[in-house]
C-alpha cells in the first residue's frame, strides 16, 4: 500500500516567498475555470474580459486602484495584527467605526476652516477603528477572551450601532431610507486625476504600506510585535510588556481599517449607507494571507483581488458569469495559498507499507 506522509523540510530559499504567492494565484486562476465553465461562460473570453475589464482602459485601470485602496488598508490591518498573533477578524467592524465617525464629523463640520476638516476626520477615523479594535485586545489580554470570536461578534455589534443611528439621529431629514445626509464639501477627499475616481485615499494607502514596513523593520515596537507573534511567553520572559504590545498592535491595526472606512465615505459614497462595505474587512484576511503578512506582499495581493473584483463586472456583462465569481475566487485563493504555505515548511513523501 502506498501512503503519503507529511514531513518537515529544510527552510526554502528567500525567492520562494515571492514565487509561492504567484504560484498560488496561478493555480487559483486555473481552478476558476470550473465555476466559469459551470456558468456556461466561454473560457478564454471570460479570462480575457476579466483582465481587460480591470486593466484594459484608462478608466478601468484607475478604477482598479480605487477598489484596491480599501482592500489594501484592511489587508494591512489584518496582516499587522496577525503578525503579532492578534487574530483580528474584526476589520469589517473597525472599517464601519471609521466611516461612522467620519460621517458624524463630515456632515457637521461645515463651519470649520477648510484646511482643518480633512485632517481632523482622518485622525478621528483612525482612532475610531483603533479604539474599536482595542476592545477585543483588552478582552484578550486582561480576561483571556478568544480574540477570533470577540472580533467577529463586535462586527455585528457595530453593524447594529450603525443601523440604529442611520434609522435614528443620523438619518437624512425627510428620507425614509437608512442613509445619512451628504458630507460637506471640505470633508471630501480630493480627486487626483480628471475623469476618474482616483482619490487621495489611494495615496494614503500607499503611504501606509511604507509606514507599516518601516514600523516592522526599523522600530523596536515592530520587533517586539513580531516577538509576541512568534512566542508570547518567550517575549514576556524576555522583558517585553506583551499586554501593551498587543494593545498598540490592535490600535494600529484597527486604525488602518478605520481609514479604509473614511476613504469609502469621503471619496466614494459621500454619505453613510448600510452597505458601505461589501465585506472589505473579510477580504482583508485573504489579502493579508496571500501577501504573506508582508506590507509589500499585501500591496500586490490587494491589487490582484482588485483586478478580480473590477474585472468580474465586465466579465459578467460580456459572458453572463455572475459577479459573485469574485467571492468564489477569493475563497479559493485563501485555501490554495494555505496549502502552498504548508509546503514551504513540510513536504509530501510517499511511503510503501507492506
Amino acid at each position: 500500500m502506498i501512503r503519503f506522509k507529511i514531513e518537515k523540510r529544510k527552510p526554502l530559499p528567500g525567492w520562494a516567498k515571492i514565487v509561492i504567492p504567484i504560484a498560488a494565484i496561478m493555480v487559483t486562476l486555473i481552478l476558476s475555470a470550473i465555476p466559469i465553465l459551470i456558468a456556461g461562460g466561454h473560457l478564454w473570453k471570460s479570462y480575457f474580459y476579466l483582465f481587460y475589464g480591470a486593466l484594459g482602459t484608462r478608466f478601468n485601470l484607475l478604477e482598479t486602484f480605487v477598489k484596491a485602496s480599501p482592500l489594501l488598508m484592511t489587508g494591512l490591518a489584518v496582516a499587522f495584527a496577525f503578525r503579532a498573533k492578534f487574530w483580528n477578524i474584526g476589520a469589517e467592524g473597525q472599517l464601519l467605526a471609521g466611516a461612522l465617525v467620519a460621517t458624524v464629523l463630515g456632515v457637521s463640520m461645515g463651519g470649520f476652516p477648510h484646511a482643518l476638516v480633512l485632517p481632523i476626520i482622518i485622525i478621528a477615523g483612525f482612532l475610531a477603528g483603533g479604539i474599536w479594535a482595542s476592545i477585543p485586545a483588552i478582552l484578550k489580554t486582561k480576561l483571556k477572551v478568544d480574540d477570533v470570536v470577540s472580533t467577529l461578534l463586535l462586527n455585528y455589534v457595530m453593524i447594529h450601532i450603525m443601523g440604529a443611528l442611520l434609522f435614528g439621529p443620523l438619518q437624512q431629514p425627510g428620507s425614509s431610507w437608512p442613509r445619512s445626509s451628504a458630507i460637506v464639501e471640505a470633508a471630501c477627499y480630493p480627486i487626483l486625476m480628471t475623469r476618474s475616481r482616483f482619490h487621495m485615499g489611494i495615496l494614503i494607502a500607499l503611504l501606509a504600506v511604507f509606514v507599516i514596513w518601516f514600523i516592522n523593520k526599523k522600530t523596536t515596537f515592530g520587533y517586539q510585535s513580531k516577538a509576541v507573534g512568534v512566542n508570547v511567553r518567550a517575549a514576556h520572559f524576555g522583558g517585553i510588556n506583551t499586554t501593551s504590545v498587543i494593545l498598540w498592535t490592535a490600535l494600529i491595526s484597527g486604525g488602518l481599517a478605520g481609514l479604509a472606512g473614511v476613504g469609502e465615505l469621503c471619496a466614494i459614497q459621500y454619505r453613510l449607507i448600510m452597505d458601505i462595505s461589501p465585506g472589505y474587512g473579510y477580504s482583508g484576511i485573504v489579502i493579508a494571507m496571500l501577501g504573506n503578512l508582508h506590507p509589500v506582499g499585501v500591496l500586490f495581493s490587494s491589487l490582484f483581488f482588485s483586478v478580480i473584483i473590477v474585472g468580474a463586472q465586465t466579465m459578467s456583462r460580456m459572458t453572463g458569469v455572475p459577479t459573485y465569481i469574485a467571492e468564489v475566487i477569493q475563497g479559493m485563493a485563501l485555501m490554495v495559498m494555505l496549502i502552498f504555505l504548508l509546503f514551504t515548511e513540510y513536504k509530501l513523501r510517499m511511503v510503501r507499507k507492506s
Binding site: K5, I6, E7, K8, P35, I38, A39, W87, I89, L139, L143, K144, V145, D146, V148, V149, S150, L152, L153, L154, N155, Y156, V157, H160, I161, G163, A164, F167, G168, Y282, I285, V286, M289, P322, T323, Y324, I325, A326, E327, V328, I329, Q330, G331, M332, L334, M335, L338, I339, L342
Partner: protein, 315 residues
C-alpha cells in the same frame, strides 16, 4: 381582555423563541461535535449559507421540501469533508482554513443562486414547512400552544439534543471522540484513528450546520436572501463556548438568543419605540459578556486548534 392578550403574547413569544433557536441548535450541536474532536470549524457561517441556498434551490426545483433538507445536509457534509482535508489531513491552521471555507462557501452560495435565478425584482419563493400541532401536549395551558405548535425541524432539533448528549457521554464512539479531542496521542496509542474520528465529526457536524441553515429558507422564511444567516454561525461558535462544550448547556444558550430575537420581533410588531437595531445588538453583547465569565472556567477540549501529526508526537 388584556389578560387574553397577555397569554397570547406569552404563548407567541414561547413559540418564537423555539423557532428562532432552531437553526442555532442544529449549528451549535454540529460545532460541539467538531470541537469535541479537537477541530474548531469556523466554516460554519459559510456552510449554513450554502445549506440555506441548497435547501431552497432543491426544494424550488423538485417541489419536495425534504429533498431540500437532505440536499442541505449533503452539502454540509461535503464542506465538512473539505474542512477535514485542510485542517486534519494537511494540519493547516484551523482558524484560517475555517475562514477560507466560509468565504468560499458564501461566495459559492451567492454565485449558484444568481446563476440559477438571475436577479429577479421579486425573489422566488417556495411552499415552506407547515407548523405541526401536537395533540394533547399543545393543550397544556399557556406554554402548550407555543411549545408544541412547531415545524418538524424544530422537533427534530430538540430530539437531537439528548441524542448528542448520549452519543458523547454514553457510547464508545463518544469516548473515542472526546479522547481524540483531549489527547490525540493517547487515543492513537490505544488504536483510535485520530484523523478518521475528526473527519467523521466534521462531516456529521457539517450536515447539522447545513440543515440549520436550510431551516431559515424552508421554514422561518420561504425565500433565500443573501444576508439570511446574518452571523448565526458565529453565534453558534459563541454558544459552544457559553455552554462549556456541552450539548444541553449550549442549547440553553441558544434559547436565550432565540428569546431575545423573538422578543425583538414581537416588540417591533407592537410598536414599541426602541430602535430594533438596539435589540438585535443585545444578543451579541450578551455573548461577549458570557465569553468573559466563561473564559475563567473554560473546559476547552485540550487538543482544540492543535493539528495532530504522528511524526511530531509530544513536540
Amino acid at each position: 381582555m388584556s389578560e387574553i392578550l397577555d397569554i397570547a403574547f406569552v404563548s407567541g413569544l414561547i413559540g418564537a423563541t423555539m423557532r428562532m433557536a432552531t437553526p442555532l441548535i442544529f449549528a451549535t450541536l454540529g460545532e460541539i461535535l467538531a470541537e469535541r474532536s479537537g477541530v474548531l470549524n469556523l466554516g460554519i457561517e459559510g456552510i449554513m449559507l450554502m445549506g440555506a441556498m441548497t435547501g431552497f434551490l432543491v426544494t424550488f426545483s423538485s417541489g419536495s421540501i425534504w429533498s431540500g433538507v437532505l440536499a442541505a445536509a449533503v452539502v454540509g457534509m461535503i464542506l465538512g469533508l473539505l474542512m477535514a482535508f485542510l485542517a486534519v489531513n494537511l494540519g493547516l491552521s484551523q482558524h484560517v482554513s475555517g475562514l477560507g471555507i466560509t468565504l468560499f462557501a458564501a461566495g459559492l452560495a451567492m454565485f449558484i443562486y444568481r446563476l440559477h435565478f438571475g436577479s429577479p425584482t421579486v425573489p422566488p419563493i417556495i411552499q415552506p414547512f407547515k407548523q405541526i400541532t401536537l395533540p394533547v401536549l399543545s393543550e397544556i395551558p399557556v406554554i402548550g400552544p407555543g411549545l408544541f405548535t412547531q415545524y418538524s425541524l424544530t422537533y427534530i432539533a430538540w430530539l437531537l439534543v439528548p441524542v448528542m448528549s448520549i452519543l458523547l457521554y454514553k457510547t464508545k464512539l463518544g469516548l473515542k471522540i472526546r479522547t481524540v479531542g483531549e489527547n490525540p496521542v493517547v487515543a492513537d496509542t490505544v488504536g483510535v484513528n485520530v484523523a478518521l474520528t475528526r473527519t467523521l465529526c466534521l462531516v456529521i457536524g457539517g450536515a447539522l450546520m447545513g440543515v440549520g441553515g436550510a431551516f431559515l429558507t424552508l421554514a422561518h422564511q420561504n425565500m433565500f436572501l443573501i444576508e439570511v444567516i446574518g452571523g448565526r454561525g458565529w453565534v453558534a461558535i459563541a454558544m459552544v463556548i457559553f455552554g462549556n462544550w456541552d450539548p444541553v448547556k449550549g442549547t440553553i444558550g441558544t434559547l436565550i438568543f432565540g428569546f431575545l430575537d423573538g422578543l425583538q420581533l414581537r416588540l417591533q410588531g407592537v410598536g414599541i419605540a426602541i430602535p430594533f437595531h438596539v435589540f438585535l445588538m443585545i444578543p451579541y453583547l450578551l455573548t461577549i459578556v458570557a465569553l468573559i465569565s466563561v473564559s475563567r472556567r473554560a473546559a476547552v477540549p485540550a487538543a482544540l486548534l492543535k493539528a495532530y501529526r504522528r511524526e511530531e508526537k509530544g513536540g
